[in-house]
């Protein structure tokens, strides 16, 4: 009797340990996603979410990473810093969550980065970094989008290629637009351009910039400006273009990489014709060079995207694709156990990961993955984005 009871207990422990090890092997890599799923950017972040879901499903169908599936846990921050912080904290308290993706918007990133730093968890942020945050040299935060420095450098190239001498900058009143304007002036003046930053600014919520533009008109005419740089993002971009044209000013308009969102053309209509900007590769992926690795990645992704969602893929969907790709790539490179610490180290050592946007490389001193080479010159023509080339600049 005692013998059989003992063997029963052994059998029980054996089964238990086996099932535990089995479940440990199958337990997924959990990724917390902290996005603005409601609020003004809801439609954009839904595109991001769709792209991430599409990629995760593809990875899991192939058998996951190291035999383990990838799992996304979505939380909506409603475009509020408080909720973004609460979501971030919630994710950090769950020991199974390996890293957190999001927020999308610049105004929320300072909060989540601080929490990531304190709680020691990787935070992949979609929007570009800015100068103030970069100077903090945070270990745990990584930015996906092209930053202000490379965009400004590329825009200076565009201005030189177009032989513009004098450019007036009209920037939005938020830190990223401000540093974009400042870097453009600094890099431009190094190359002999004359850059005027207008003291007039605009807010993200402004629906009409006519008064500011009227105030700039005498300067534009007096200095005979060669181009006008609408240093902004979102709806103000097309509004500035519309207002400028309505005032009868015909000078060329330059934009930021945020002009690559499809809704910008729909909003600005005819006023957007001829606007040129440094654009992300997915914006004009069908017009990339044949030897550009981003071209085939985009074509393949666009095909899957169309099959699933019925629309063409875009710049934002591309970010979603690349984020999941980077996560997969980093986990695969981890030697030994995948923890928050080892994952971070692996992500930081990413060298030349090929995504829809180009090549991502991170270094301890550089947590912005993309470089100037990952931007192309784009012109809006006939209501479409068209790649333009200048010999010697690309």
């Amino acid at each position: 009797m005692r013998k059989s009871a003992l063997s029963f207990i052994f059998l029980f422990i054996f089964i238990l340990s086996f099932s535990l090890s089995y479940s440990a092997e199958k337990s997924p890599y959990k990724v917390g996603v902290n996005f603005e799923l409601t609020g003004p950017w809801a439609e954009i972040t839904k595109t991001l979410r769709n792209a991430m879901v599409l990629e995760v499903e593809r990875i899991n169908q192939r058998g996951g990473i190291n035999g383990k599936p990838l799992e996304l846990i979505f939380e909506d921050n409603g475009f509020e810093a408080g909720r973004a912080a609460a979501n971030m904290t919630k994710f950090t308290k769950d020991p199974e969550v390996l890293l957190v993706v999001g927020p999308f918007e610049d105004t929320l990133q300072a909060t989540t980065r601080a929490i990531a730093e304190r709680e020691k968890i990787t935070n992949i942020i979609v929007c570009p970094s800015n100068r103030v945050l970069r100077e903090m040299k945070q270990r745990w935060a990584f930015n996906i989008a092209h930053n202000d420095i490379i965009v400004s450098e590329k825009l200076v190239d565009l201005s030189l290629a177009r032989k513009y001498k004098k450019i007036l900058v009209f920037h939005a009143a938020h830190p990223l637009a401000q540093t974009l304007a400042e870097y453009y002036k600094r890099f431009g003046e190094e190359k002999g351009l004359k850059v005027f930053i207008s003291p007039e600014t605009h807010k993200h919520t402004d629906i009409d910039m006519t008064p500011q533009l009227i105030k700039m008109k005498p300067l534009i005419e007096k200095e005979k400006m060669d181009a006008f740089y609408a240093c902004t993002s979102g709806p103000p971009g097309p509004i500035v273009c519309k207002n400028l044209r309505a005032l009868g000013m015909k000078l060329p308009i330059l934009g930021t990489h945020a002009f690559g969102f499809g809704f910008i053309i729909a909003l600005g209509g005819e006023a957007m014709e001829g606007v040129e900007f440094p654009g992300a590769k997915p914006v004009v992926f069908d017009q990339l060079d044949e030897n550009d690795p981003a071209k085939s990645i985009n074509i393949e992704f666009d095909k899957r995207w169309r099959e699933r969602y019925g629309t063409p893929s875009d710049q934002i969907a591309g970010y979603g694709h690349d984020i999941i790709g980077l996560i997969e790539n980093s986990i695969k490179r981890v030697k030994g156990k995948v923890t928050r610490e080892t994952f971070r180290d692996a992500l930081e050592n990413t060298k030349g990961f090929k995504g829809t946007h180009g090549l991502y490389s991170f270094r301890p001193a550089e947590h912005d993955g993309l470089s100037k080479k990952d931007l192309v010159f784009v012109r809006i023509e006939g209501g479409k984005f068209k790649r333009i080339r200048f010999p010697g600049f690309e």
Binding site: P211, I214, P218, I239, F263
Partner: protein, 296 residues
């Protein structure tokens, strides 16, 4: 010298905004004249006018004009619903409670719009193909002219309604002399109901006329509604002419202020003007039938 050259351009821009504020203010005044209620969902009617037109054009593929008329119909229907579901059940409540109820309705309408039509901003094409006009070095878009015409057309219609029809007089009586209206057999609830319909129609019309100038998004109604309200108060709360005058004063003052101070303060100027007018002439410029000046 430079300033003198650009002043006419500022004036034109200000007049365009003045016409917009005036048009929105007329919607506020219409309801106030029939029931003394301040309807803070007025800005949402403006937003919905543009949004529903966009929906009919882009999703149902109807012609522009038909979409615009349908949108006005839909928004008038919503105005009636707002009265039936929010205002009428609260008919015994005091005015501040009704004001809060309309504020709630405004939040409800803007969030619903985000759910139905999405959160990305939308633009309508201008009414006329060639949009840029230039007179003596001052350029402006043809759409501004349309807005100006619409504002005075609505003012004219409201004048006819209030001065030359029994319905209009009954609407006014139910607000200025409730007891007298009751004794004459006027149903005050019916009058408020109709006023909500007229006011939401004006709002929708405003939305359709101004969307080609800017854009419409689910949260764009709030600020424009607030500016319309301020215009109505500046001009004289409860007066149609006052609403238009207030609109033009506000629009031109905002626009001209940018000539002298940075644009970031533009929205503040509206509130500064309101404060100054309330200090020195609480009844508004043309005087208000609802505000008893003896209290000051």
């Amino acid at each position: 010298m430079e300033l003198l050259q650009i002043i006419p351009q500022f004036l034109i821009s200000g007049l365009t905004f003045g016409a917009i504020y005036g048009l929105v203010a007329l919607g506020f005044v219409t309801i106030a004249r029939a029931s003394q209620i301040i309807n803070f969902a007025q800005g949402e009617f403006v937003m919905l006018g543009g949004m529903v037109t966009f929906f009919f054009i882009k999703s149902v593929h109807l012609p522009y004009l038909l979409s615009a008329f349908l949108a006005i119909g839909v928004v008038i229907g919503l105005g009636f619903l707002l009265h039936l579901l929010v205002i009428y059940p609260l008919r015994k409540a005091s005015l501040p409670i009704l004001l809060l109820a309309t504020l709630g309705a405004s939040l409800f309408l803007s969030s619903s719009s985000a759910l139905f039509f999405g959160t990305l901003p939308k633009a309508l094409p201008p009414f006329s193909g060639k949009d840029l006009l230039e007179i003596g070095g001052v350029s402006f878009s043809a759409q501004s002219l349309f807005v100006l015409i619409a504002t005075f057309f609505v003012l004219f219609l409201l004048y006819i309604l209030s001065h030359h029809t029994h319905l209009g007089k009954a609407m006014e009586a139910s607000s200025t002399d409730p007891l007298g209206a009751d004794l004459c057999g006027i149903s005050r609830h019916l009058m408020t109901f109709l006023a909500f319909g007229v006011s939401s129609g004006i709002g929708a019309l405003a939305g359709i006329f101004i969307t080609p100038l800017f854009y419409v998004s689910y949260h764009s109604g709030t600020l424009i509604g607030l500016k319309g309200f301020i215009s109505a108060v500046i001009g004289g709360w409860g007066k149609y002419g006052g609403a238009i005058l207030g609109g033009f004063i506000l629009g031109v003052a905002e626009s001209l202020s940018i000539a002298f101070i940075p644009a970031g303060y533009k929205d503040g100027v509206a509130f500064l003007i309101l404060l100054l007018i309330l200090y020195f002439r609480p009844k508004g410029i043309l005087g208000s039938p609802f505000i008893d000046s003896r209290r000051w």
